[in-house]
């Protein structure tokens, strides 16, 4: 078993800069947790604390009930896959994968079997005699994963492993990581700033900003019921449209439009009557019929969908319509919103 408990972890550097605040998370055995957030939000620092590459300033880190907070990295039984692969260029793929086991002075025949098994999983068997320089980026990343697999660690850590790959390869390698997780059933912590990776890979997502955990939940929870404005705007592509609206007489009103609230929304927003709140509408929740006028300034056909960017008076809006549209700049489209999110203007928390 490899359950992880990260109890109130904090990272404060010597210059008093605090990178991580009160990070609290329980990871179940075999779970894939994705830490997501913009650059500088503290996700990699958290991962490095787990790996033992950064000291933990406050809090406890427990693996399988054992406190490893002060334990050196080599004794934690954790394997990390880096963004830049960190392969030894003078060694063959076989040697790269076997290296950590050789350092442990394991039996050479056992090392051989482990390396072959990992290569088989990652479809690298035919590449074992090559040097890293002869492989593509995706293959190199698979070698880095293979090096982690052969160790059979308690926990796998991935620090933005797909960032150096092109879009096509990224998507293919993402699927491989997902298959690998299913096959190994290993506990994994995965850091990325790419929300697509987060949504597609994670059992649970930890969304971070400025060193604080914003929300922990399943991908659907984060997408469907974002805890605050940050999560709402960060998760989802294109990002959610946000409007300041006043709640008045069962309507959400701003200078450009008035939207009728449903009975459930009216009840939820009752304490905010007469106040200004932030209303969020995902582009895919904008419907191509209604009474709100959008002045189109661009039309992006994506095949299955079309992104229509425009303005409703002063406010910019992005709509994601199903099918192929041919709007031109200057066209007017009538739209309505079929799903709305509301956030407190002061706290930025979701109004529930």
């Amino acid at each position: 078993m490899s359950d992880l408990k990260l109890q109130h972890l904090e990272k404060i550097y010597d210059n008093k800069v605090q990178a991580v605040y009160d990070f609290d998370l329980d990871v179940k055995d075999g779970e894939l947790i994705v830490l997501v957030g913009p650059s500088g939000c503290g996700k990699s620092t958290t991962l490095r604390m787990v790996a033992g590459l950064e000291d933990i300033s406050k809090g406890k880190f427990i693996i399988d009930g054992k406190d490893v907070t002060r334990m050196p990295p080599k004794d934690r039984d954790i394997a990390m896959v880096f963004q830049n692969y960190a392969l030894y260029s003078h060694m063959t793929i076989y040697e790269n994968m076997a290296f950590s086991l050789m350092l442990r002075k394991e039996n050479k025949n056992e090392i051989h079997q482990k390396v072959l098994a990992a290569a088989e999983i990652l479809d690298l068997t035919s590449q074992l005699n090559k040097k890293p320089g002869q492989l593509s980026g995706g293959q190199r990343q698979r070698v880095a994963m293979g090096r982690a697999i052969v160790r059979r660690p308690k926990v796998f850590l991935f620090d933005e492993p797909l960032s150096n790959l092109d879009a096509k390869l990224r998507s293919a390698t993402r699927r491989e990581i997902l298959l690998l997780h299913k096959r190994l059933n290993a506990t994994m912590l995965y850091v990325t700033h790419d929300q697509t990776e987060a949504l597609t890979l994670a059992d649970r997502i930890v969304c971070m900003s400025m060193g604080h955990v914003q929300q922990i939940g399943t991908p659907l929870e984060l997408y469907d019921t974002p805890a605050n404005l940050f999560v709402a705007s960060f998760i989802g592509l294109p990002p959610m449209n946000l409007f300041d609206v006043e709640i008045s007489d069962g309507q959400a009103i701003n200078s450009d439009f008035a939207v009728d609230l449903t009975a459930e929304e009216k009840e939820r927003l009752a304490p905010y009557e007469g106040k200004v709140v932030t209303m969020g509408v995902r582009p895919e929740n904008v419907v191509e019929r209604g009474n709100i006028t959008v002045n189109v300034f661009s039309n992006e056909n994506l095949g299955l969908n079309t992104l229509v960017n425009g303005t409703t008076g002063k406010h910019k809006i992005t709509c994601k319509f199903r099918g192929w549209c041919n709007y031109k700049a200057g066209d007017e489209v009538k739209v309505s919103f079929d799903r709305k999110h509301f956030f407190d203007k002061e706290t930025t928390n979701a109004i529930r």
């Binding site: 078993m1 490899s2 055995d29 075999g30 063959t92 076989y94 040697e95 050479k108 025949n109 051989h112 079997q113 482990k114 390396v115 072959l116 098994a117 990992a118 999983i121 074992l128 005699n129 697999i149 052969v150 059979r152 096959r183 190994l184 059933n185 290993a186």
Partner: protein
């Protein structure tokens, strides 16, 4: 630990001898290559000793030039053998053995002759170009160099033939598998 994770690295049960053979496919013959490098070092100790000694005119006239050329050729050939043998090339294993035999022959050339030859520049009567101590030392260097080269060659030969027969066996099995289909 979940069973699925343990099962990941499970391989069909094979005996140690077969695994050792299979390892040759992915590992280089570093043992033989390193033995040859040590043989080059032993040879270097040999020629440093003979060139630093008071050899008098005898050597200069007859052997030194040839000896320097031979040592250069030897080091190049030995290094090439080291690289070739590392990659399981049968020819280089043979060349390594030949170089080892030549090293033994060298004992009977410069060291032996110099040990027997009178030194015209030495003050003492009956003094030889190479004293007994130095003769034993350079002979030892050449013998060590020869033994290392021959050992490297034999090990290289054995590993290479083992690997070649294993690869042939794999190929045969592969073909049989294809035929079965």
């Amino acid at each position: 630990m979940p069973l699925a994770r343990e099962g990941v690295c499970d391989m069909p049960v094979r005996n140690d001898a077969e695994i050792r053979k299979d390892r040759l496919r992915f590992t280089k013959n570093k043992l033989s290559a390193n033995l040859i490098i040590f043989a080059i070092v032993a040879n270097a100790l040999y020629f440093v000793s003979i060139y630093s000694s008071d050899v008098g005119s005898y050597y200069y006239k007859l052997f030194i030039g040839g000896s320097i050329v031979y040592n250069l050729v030897f080091m190049l050939a030995a290094f090439l053998s080291s690289e070739g043998i590392k990659n399981y090339k049968l020819g280089y294993a043979c060349s390594s053995v030949v170089l080892g035999i030549l090293q033994i022959c060298r004992i009977f050339y410069i060291p032996m002759k110099a040990h027997k030859a009178a030194n015209p520049v030495a003050d003492a009567k009956n003094a030889t170009v190479m004293g007994s101590g130095q003769f034993r030392y350079v002979s030892f260097c050449l013998i060590v160099s020869a033994v290392l080269l021959i050992a490297a060659g034999i090990i290289g030969f054995m590993k290479t033939t083992t690997l070649n027969s294993y690869l042939a066996e794999l190929e045969r099995k592969g073909q049989e598998g294809t035929d079965d289909e």
